[in-house]
């Protein structure tokens, strides 16, 4: 490695072919916050920015089509309900679910996982049973299972990762047994970018009779997902990471499983009849959607899925894969930079540390240069422990990022090195 400044970005690399049929610079114009400011946003794994069409859809909902849903006989309420349910259909098609009623709207990935733990988990997991996760999970795919295990007397087991941050599949398989009731894994690691072999994981887990929960928070904005061919039992993700508003998340569950599960929260919308002696519950998905949902948020979420579909997930993925390769190359040329997470199958998340400089100092200086990155443990403290670092700097990419963003990152990292030399 040699010390280089702007020349880190060689002409040859600049001329390398980009993803065909997709222009990130043009897509960037769809995002007011990026269009109107010089912001270089490299923190989309935490939450993505919103295109104008999503902002408009929310405003349109409240300006023209808003009333509570599933209630009124008046036309406006019927229209609001139809719009809301149409997004359920959009979501079904987006992830390849067999039926729209397999889509449950929740607040976010975290709530989706907690819902499964509190309903399916409490119903099916008992003393001596096991829940299997991996070492690379986000806290939201660890803590709900710990709570379930504490409440039921079950044991939480953890499959290790190797030094590149890939799941050790043989070790994972060794931890599967007849007591394994639930396997919960990230599709893509938020801290490392590792793409897990979820097909293989699902096949192995099913062979041992366990149900499979996939935390798809990081996969949905970057990767075509088909839950039917994947054959997972549950798939959870958040709308805000796929360019939708905060406050809307999705739990996909196989219809037969959802049918067998008790309600999550009690209240309006989730009932069939209410008597003081006993109430009966609605069918799926309403059984899991107590109370008035985020109606405006769901409108925005639908627009976000349409937006991504319009651009084409395959084109987005191609662009991000190319940008990841570029990023990895130019960062590797920075002296003292250590990439954390170098699995063969990786999405556009780049975690790193810089010799002798704490990630927070890096983050402050990058911020000062107009570059937003995440610094810290990324809600994945066990991952930090595995790599022996208290925290990392994480640059996470999305469809609107360009090579120019990465070039600016490289220049700013040289500023950091200069300051701390």
């Amino acid at each position: 490695m040699t010390a280089v400044g702007r020349s880190a970005v060689s002409t040859a690399k600049r001329l390398a072919p980009r993803g065909e049929g997709f222009d990130p610079a043009r897509a960037r114009q769809d995002f007011p916050i990026l269009r109107n400011t010089g912001l270089i946003f490299l923190d989309s794994a935490a939450s993505a920015q919103k295109p104008q069409c999503v902002i408009d859809a929310i405003a349109d909902c409240y300006s023209r089509d808003y009333a509570n849903i599933h209630r009124g006989v008046y036309e406006l309420s019927a229209r609001a309900t139809a719009n809301f349910e149409a997004v359920r259909g959009t979501t079904q098609r987006f992830i390849g679910a067999a039926e729209a009623r397999e889509i449950v709207f929740v607040r976010n990935t975290t709530e989706a996982i907690n819902l499964i733990a509190a309903t399916y988990g409490r119903q099916n997991v008992g003393p001596g049973d096991e829940v299997l996760i991996t070492e690379m999970e986000h806290h939201s795919n660890i803590v709900p299972w710990q709570m379930l295990c504490e409440a039921t007397g079950a044991t939480l087991r953890v499959a290790p990762i190797d030094d590149r941050g890939a799941l050790m599949l043989e070790e994972f398989e060794k931890r599967l047994c007849s007591r394994t009731k639930i396997v919960a894994v990230a599709h893509i690691s938020n801290a490392l970018g590792t793409i897990n072999p979820v097909d293989e994981i699902t096949r192995l887990a099913h062979a041992h009779g366990a149900v499979v929960v996939i935390d798809g928070a990081q996969a949905i904005p970057h990767h075509r997902v088909d839950v039917t061919s994947l054959d997972c039992d549950f798939y959870a993700f958040s709308g805000h990471k796929v360019f939708g508003p905060t406050g809307v998340g999705v739990l996909y569950g196989k219809a037969a499983l959802l049918e067998s599960m008790p309600p999550y929260q009690g209240g309006g919308s989730m009932i069939e009849t209410v008597r003081f002696e006993k109430s009966t519950y609605a069918g799926i998905p309403q059984r899991f959607e107590a109370g008035t949902p985020d109606i405006g948020g769901v409108a925005g979420f639908g627009a976000a899925l349409d937006y991504v579909t319009g651009l084409g997930l395959d084109a987005i993925e191609r662009h991000e894969r190319e940008l990841l390769a570029y990023t990895t190359d130019v960062l590797a040329e920075i002296p003292g930079l250590r990439l954390i997470g170098t699995a063969a199958q990786k999405a556009a998340v780049v975690s790193f540390s810089l010799d002798g400089v704490h990630p927070h100092d890096v983050g402050s200086i990058l911020d000062h240069e107009g570059i937003a990155v995440r610094t810290g443990h990324h809600c994945a403290q066990p991952v930090m422990e595995h790599f022996g670092v208290p925290a990392t700097v994480r640059a996470s990419l999305a469809l609107y990022n360009t090579r120019e963003d990465i070039d600016a990152l490289v220049r700013a990292l040289h500023t950091v090195r200069e300051l701390f030399k």
Binding site: H360, D361, S364, H368, G376, Q381, P390, A391, T415, E418
Partner: protein
Amino acid sequence: MSSDLRELYQAVILDHNKRPRNFRKPECANRTAEGINPLCGDQLTVYLNVEDGVVKDVGFSGTGCAISTASASLMTQAVKGMKIEEAEHLFEGFREMVTSDPQAKPEDESLGKLSVFSGVREFPMRVKCATLAWHAMSEALHDTGETATTE
């Protein structure tokens, strides 16, 4: 490089980050407190030897960013030899300096060397880094046995 970045990362701060002073546990330590910043995982422990109401010795251990490490290092130098009340008073003055309105700029001369942290005012996200060791020191003075946090 911009001037407020240089102002934040002054040479004294970079030096204390690289070579933190009193980075040790004094053998005679009789009061201890841990400070953690749950947001970023910074974690340090402050050890005091307090006799007759005076901080006879002070040290620290742990990991953190340049601002929190340098702040801990300079804090240990500043409070050594002080009476408990003086150390508390200094913490108050320090906290005021790093949280005051950057426009106002009332330079408190009694802070001496600690005024290198005045640049923190321009970076509100870093105030917690600068005050972490001080919070822990204050906890240790009263040795409540609790962990100091920046939250």
